[in-house]
């Protein structure tokens, strides 16, 4: 059984090299990711993969996550997703 987001929460900033992540419960079930990124064309797919991997590692099955990426590297994306999720649990 996966853990779920209980309350909306956010993490990160809009500074360059950071990513701003907002998580909310998803009552419909499943994982929804909305991504905006300044490097969408070059790295959009990769960023979504990293977010998914992070959610998987945290055992999150139902979530609505929206992210505004300002060119964050993977370690930052993972950190911000983890922070937002832990804040929302």
């Amino acid at each position: 059984m996966g853990m779920d987001i209980k309350t909306p929460a956010k993490a990160g900033t809009m500074e360059s090299n950071d990513i701003y992540v907002i998580v909310q419960p998803n009552d419909e079930g499943g994982i929804i990711i909305e991504l905006e990124s300044i490097v969408m064309k070059q790295f959009g797919k990769k960023i979504k993969e990293v977010i998914l991997e992070t959610l998987e590692a945290l055992n999150i099955k139902n979530i609505h996550l929206s992210a505004k990426d300002r060119g964050a590297l993977d370690y930052t994306i993972k950190a911000r997703v983890e922070t937002a999720v832990k804040r929302g649990m």
């Binding site: 090299n17 300044i38 490097v39 790295f43 060119g71 590297l73």
Partner: protein, 511 residues
């Protein structure tokens, strides 16, 4: 067909003509011819002052398909291009080409003229803002032609671009067409980019907001080239014309790059009496100048000249006696304008004198060291300053290719990674400047020297600087960012990138 850099280019482009493929930076140096200029000689009693731009347009006899030109010394404060096109649009003229030395965000109204079909062609050496974006989206009928500063002068002199009417923004103009840029409320300093336009256009209109009695000494563009003079309320917004003095970067990464760059210059052996130097106006470039300044002071070196668009920072070095002279094609700030007005050794230069490869020798040929930027650089040292890595036009060569070709040591300085984008890549999105003319790449994580400069590699390997191959730098960057996905460009060509000699070095596709 493919050019020598392996870039796929068409043999013929509609609205451009037959393509001459780039064959190498110095492959085209040979006997050339300048075009003959058709002009209307003036009768002794003729007056030149007209009451409005509208009158000037009527007097010049406009026609569909013609080329009108502008220069960019008023930069993002320029009103002239917009005023003239607005007036032209009332005449119902169509299919015209705008040859502007540069296009800035202030020129956004041009997008509407592209959509209406009045403007179907654009040439520029640099463009940023809404017009560049609209061109990238395919909203201009024919592909834009991107020149270099020297290449534009060459194209005008050779007749590759035939200008029907040149509109010259004149900070000060007298009633018989003599122009200077150092007086008046819109003073912008030298007018170097407008010189070829004045000399080779069929009709030349000076537009001024400071009409004074004859003669407007010190004259920069002289009366024998000017057909008409129009006085307007304002030719530009002073805040956009000359920026405040650009500050040296405080970013520690930029400073580190700058310091390493100054060490490369020192190790190259070029930093000695008679040293000549050019750098852009960006924060990191200025920081390089600052470190070079300290080295020159420490070693008591008196340089020969600094060139380019001149900033207050260069003026300070000049006034301190670190350089004998300044060569100035465009003043970047008020301090530069003032220095140019006051100091005889602050010398103006035309775009042709600055960088034209097909004259009897441009100033870039006398440069020891040139500091350049890049949005991307590939493992063959080809540099892109025209498009972002997403393929969107956001700049252009300006003097990049010209100075790289001329300088003894052309150094690209850049962060290795910006945002998440690796700057060193296998293939740049767009080639602006060929790798054979770039000698060194300095990033905060390492320095790569073009393998053709074995002499420099030997010198730099004796220092403690982190010298590595450009492939290694690429790996370091990609280890941080991951490998970016290839951008899928559409087939439609939106811009042709001309090298300074008029050959096509690359093209830009619609995104």
């Amino acid at each position: 067909m493919k050019n020598i850099l392996g870039r796929e280019i068409p043999e013929y482009i509609e609205g451009y003509g037959t393509v001459k493929a780039f064959k190498g930076a110095f492959a085209s140096l040979r006997e050339v011819e300048r075009k003959a200029v058709k002009l209307q000689s003036a009768e002794p009693t003729e007056k030149k002052v007209l009451s409005s731009i509208k009158d000037a347009i009527e007097k010049c006899t406009i026609k569909d398909g013609m080329t009108v030109s502008f220069h960019h010394h008023l930069r993002n404060g320029d009103y002239v291009l917009n005023m003239v096109l607005e007036e032209l649009s009332k005449t119902g003229i169509k299919d015209i080409r705008v040859a502007a030395s540069s296009i800035f965000p202030v020129h956004a109204p041009l997008v509407e003229h592209m959509k209406s079909g009045m403007v179907t062609g654009i040439c520029a050496n640099y463009m940023s803002g809404p017009v560049a974006e609209a061109i990238s989206r395919g909203e201009l009928k024919y592909p834009a032609i991107m020149h270099t500063h020297g290449g534009r002068a060459r194209a005008i002199e050779s007749g590759d671009i035939s200008i029907d009417i040149a509109f010259i923004a004149a900070p000060t103009c007298d009633t018989y067409g003599n122009i200077n840029g150092v007086e008046g409320k819109s003073a912008c300093g030298t007018l170097g980019y407008a010189v070829p336009d004045a000399m080779y256009a069929e009709k030349v209109v000076a537009i001024t907001d400071n009409l004074i009695p004859y003669p407007a000494c010190p004259i920069e563009i002289t009366q024998e080239y000017i057909d008409f003079v129009v006085e307007v309320e304002s030719i530009g917004d002073p805040n956009g014309i000359v920026s405040g003095t650009t500050q040296i970067t405080k970013d520690p990464v930029g400073l580190k790059i700058a310091k390493m760059t100054s060490e490369v210059i020192e190790a190259s052996g070029l930093l000695k009496k008679g040293f000549s130097f050019q750098t852009g106006a960006g924060g990191t470039s200025l920081a390089v100048a600052d470190y070079v300044k300290k080295l020159m002071q420490q070693k008591d070196i008196k340089g020969s000249f600094a060139a380019g668009g001149i900033t207050g920072y260069m003026v300070e070095m000049f006034e301190e006696g670190l350089f004998e002279s300044l060569f100035d094609v465009q003043c970047f700030d008020l301090k530069a304008v003032e220095s140019y007005r006051e100091n005889k050794r602050h010398q103006n230069m035309s775009a042709s004198m600055y960088g034209n490869p097909h004259n009897k020798g441009a100033v870039v040929n006398n440069l020891d060291v040139m500091i350049l930027g890049a949005t991307e650089i590939d493992t063959a040292f080809n540099a892109n300053v025209t498009t972002g890595s997403n393929g969107m036009i956001m700049g252009g060569s300006g003097g990049h290719s010209d100075t790289a070709a001329g300088a003894k040591l052309a150094i690209v300085v850049t962060q290795l990674v910006k945002g998440r984008l690796p700057i060193v890549v296998d293939d740049v999105t767009t080639v602006t400047t060929p790798g054979e003319t770039i000698d060194v790449l300095v990033t905060e994580r390492g320095i790569a020297v073009n393998p053709k400069r074995q002499d420099l590699i030997e010198k730099l390997e004796k220092t403690k600087l982190p010298i590595m191959s450009i492939e290694e730098l690429k790996q370091i960057a990609e280890k941080m960012t991951g490998t970016p996905e290839k951008i899928e460009a559409e087939d439609q060509l939106v811009a042709v990138i001309e090298y300074r000699d008029g050959t096509v070095i690359d093209t830009v596709k619609k995104i």
